[in-house]
């Protein structure tokens, strides 16, 4: 089964406009997603469910509240930690990494 098959295409209330297919990176590996969809949506469609490792024991954490509230899906995006994969929109070329615990110090702007 192709991974994109898990996407909902019809919904009684929501519309799914056509979006541009783009490339981004998960842990250095190139993946495809739709521009502007939540990062977590693109990762789930690609079969990636572990997004974060917990603070104290390093247990796997993934998509949970889906509304930017629970901190379960925190990932590192382009060197910036604590990005909520469920609410952050996907952009072309984004480098997304799994966040281990509190994550790294944010990359400097210089």
């Amino acid at each position: 089964m192709e991974s994109s098959d898990i996407r909902i295409t019809q919904h009684p209330i929501l519309d799914f406009p056509d979006r541009r297919k783009i490339k981004f990176y998960w842990e250095g590996k190139e993946l495809e997603g739709y521009e502007g969809e939540p990062i977590a949506s693109a990762l789930h469609a690609a079969g990636i469910k572990v997004l974060h490792k917990s603070l104290k024991q390093g247990c796997p954490r993934g998509f949970f509240c889906a509304i930017g509230n629970c901190s379960s899906c925190l990932v590192v995006v382009d060197g910036v930690p604590n990005v909520r994969a469920c609410t952050e929109k996907l952009r072309a070329g984004m480098r997304v990494e799994m966040q281990e615990g509190v994550g790294p110090v944010p990359a400097s702007k210089e």
Binding site: L55, V80, P81, N82, G101, V102, G103, P104, V105, P106, A107, S108, K109
Partner: protein, 382 residues
């Protein structure tokens, strides 16, 4: 709630909790602690929670040294199930103007005399301790590895739990509304949950110390002032020691959890009980700390709050008895450093109440010093 007690402690912050615990530890049986809200809800739970020996005045250095001795074993002494998160990664005191640097060099001589092993550092040496530090504009720094910070909620709770195990009674949401006194002797307290008769009353009411003291006719020369503070999201290690500067007015620590707590004094802050917070603080705080540790620039603030300093005329606490009122004790006016003094103050106030030999001399910290004109001088307060 008991209606008679051997002692009533007013205030469920870290100072009240430490006094109550030490009284119970020394064997006093019927002790009630009254707190109008919940534990650590006044100044304690809002504080920056630093603990340092690097003071300018001998009295403060001696007391904080004794407090750190206790902090080092507090977790075990109180048999606390959780972690009070006492971490000794030092304080790095940063001097940005010549006058501040000169003061640090005076302070360090006093510290050395009293056995504190602080060292004076060049900006480059300071950067070796904190590699993320921006040394621009820095004259020099002093560092003392024995300084650190602890979790104020856990520390207070640890004291209260140990106090309760020793038979003490903790009453939250119980506000003391009056103190009974006849012929110069304390008779007990009136509270919103009923009266307690007791021969000893301890005022550890933090910001509300002056209104409580006025219940026995004591006029405390203290005032309250809002100090604002914020916390960031947790991130990887940015710096280990507490960073502090008097000329720039800030202090900042990264908690064991990874979030960064920071506060800054405002010279234009009016006196009062306001504990609202402002965007102006947020802006000023972030500007200053991002210049000190530029890596903070990409770190998000998650929350800001404020708390009250209860400031005495010489920025030293007011401890002990008041002549003419038998059974009244106070530990008040900590001027922003009550948390770090609490372990030793709790011990020594309990010793005073029980007529034991005092662990440390606090005779110069009585209320009478203001009338005598015998003020302490502390040059190093944020």
């Amino acid at each position: 709630m008991k209606t008679t007690a051997d002692a009533v402690v007013i205030g469920g912050g870290v100072v009240g909790a430490a006094i109550a615990y030490n009284l119970a530890k020394y064997g006093l049986k019927n002790i009630v602690l009254c707190e109008k809200d919940t534990f650590a809800s006044g100044s304690t739970g809002r504080c920056g929670a630093g603990v340092r020996e690097q003071w300018g005045a001998e009295g403060n250095i001696r007391m904080c040294k004794a407090a750190i001795d206790i902090f080092e074993n507090l977790q075990e002494e109180l048999e606390y199930d959780y972690d009070i998160e006492f971490v000794q990664k030092g304080y790095l005191m940063l001097a940005y103007i010549e006058k501040e640097w000169e003061q640090f060099n005076v302070n360090i001589k006093v510290q050395h005399k009293l056995g504190v092993n602080a060292v004076a550092l060049t900006p480059q040496e300071a950067r070796e301790i904190v590699p993320t530090l921006n040394t621009e504009g820095l004259y020099g720094a002093t560092f003392n590895a024995r300084d650190g910070h602890a979790n104020p909620f856990h520390t207070t709770r640890a004291y209260l739990k140990a106090f309760e195990r020793l038979g003490g009674e903790v009453c939250f949401f119980t506000e003391v509304t009056g103190i009974e006194k006849t012929n110069g002797r304390i008779q007990g307290v009136k509270t919103t949950k009923g009266d307690i008769s007791a021969p000893v009353v301890v005022n550890a009411a933090g910001p509300w110390a002056a209104p409580v003291a006025s219940m026995v006719g004591v006029d405390l020369p203290v005032y309250t002032e809002r100090h604002q503070i914020l916390v960031t999201e947790p991130v990887g290690r940015l710096f280990d020691p507490m960073l502090m500067s008097f000329s720039r007015g800030f202090y900042s620590q990264q908690t064991p959890h990874g979030s960064v707590v920071m506060g800054i004094g405002d010279p234009n802050e009016p006196k009062g009980y306001d504990i609202g917070h402002s965007w102006q603080f947020l802006r000023r705080m972030c500007d200053i700390m991002c210049s000190v540790v530029p890596a903070l620039e990409g770190v998000r603030v998650v929350r800001q709050w404020s708390g009250l300093y209860t400031i005495s005329p010489d920025a030293h606490p007011i401890l002990g008895t008041v002549p003419g009122i038998d059974g009244y004790y106070h530990a008040v006016g900590f001027s922003g450093h009550g948390f770090m003094l609490a372990p030793i103050v709790g011990k020594v106030i309990a010793e005073m109440i029980l007529d034991k030999e005092l662990s440390i001399d606090i005779s110069g910290l009585d209320l009478g010093r203001f009338e005598r004109g015998d003020l302490r001088v502390e040059p190093s307060v944020v």
